[in-house]
Symmetry: C2
Subunit: 193 residues, 2 copies
Amino acid sequence: MRELEERIRREALAVLPDILRVDMFLNHMIDPVLLEGMGEEFYRLFAPLCGRVTKILTVEASGIAIACATARRFGVPVLFAKKGLSNKTLDKETYTSVIHSYTKDVTTHVSVARRFLGADDRVLIIDDFLANGAAARGLMDLVDQAGAQLLGIGVAIEKGFQRGGQDLRAQNIWVESLAVIAQLQPLLFREPS
Amino acid sequence: MRELEERIRREALAVLPDILRVDMFLNHMIDPVLLEGMGEEFYRLFAPLCGRVTKILTVEASGIAIACATARRFGVPVLFAKKGLSNKTLDKETYTSVIHSYTKDVTTHVSVARRFLGADDRVLIIDDFLANGAAARGLMDLVDQAGAQLLGIGVAIEKGFQRGGQDLRAQNIWVESLAVIAQLQPLLFREPS
């Protein structure tokens, strides 16, 4: 997606060895025009899923905005996995998995309420980054636990120099990325596969 | 806002003494149609701010979706305050405040990067709940620290039986709520003031 690549090129900060900071338009401040464009592009890429997908699954916090922009076009709800252990405002009955963030070097529990994800659901996962694939695998685990069907995974930015995307595609999972970073410094993009 | 009141009436769960669970359409699963309606309604209520507001400020995670739906209409960026202390993907230079959540009984640091909020900014705060006003005051503190101007506060659901809304309005802060709960059980609404 050209607009996203241009924003990354112009504004993002590479923090070696492998962090790309996009807090100026995606992860802290959010540009609503870019956001809408990203929702539209996911809708275009995953067009065959229209009418089949029943839920967009993401994880708080920075996946929520992109998931909502996408869900609006598919006309289905967003379900965002909560981080941390359950609290008073969430169901006791949850599916729970674990995500290790290499970027932040922390391990986080993520969970969704069982009553919001079931065997009838056909799920599109949407998230901001795909690097090692840890977040995607945590969300896929929630989909599995619910007996739901995974239809695809869409990420805004794929770190093509890490293994996540490659491994998921090797499992025949439909993965779409709006921008793929081939290397951070100097910044090089690669065509999405 | 009639649609929001109806959804609360039909689906929300009151957990006494003072918790209202709206995780089925707002705080965990998000209905994109309701979300768009909420963005439209905030735009209508705060119409005089159009062209003046420069940023929508909220706090992760459940404020993000509503803030984005509102920001799209005003054509300005969302800035969402991060919870917890700073991490590798965020600036070191932040404005930081503290929010005590009575619902969850935890105290959380919230922060925004200094370079995203400045003396030129005119800010509309958008959030999901207003109860004691702790979250609103934490965000207002960030606006103050930045030397920015607060134009108003919009919340989806105000717990009218708690003091937050009353106290803020007594300070001549422009507060709009899409639904005001007068009491939880039996559930009663009150006209937004």
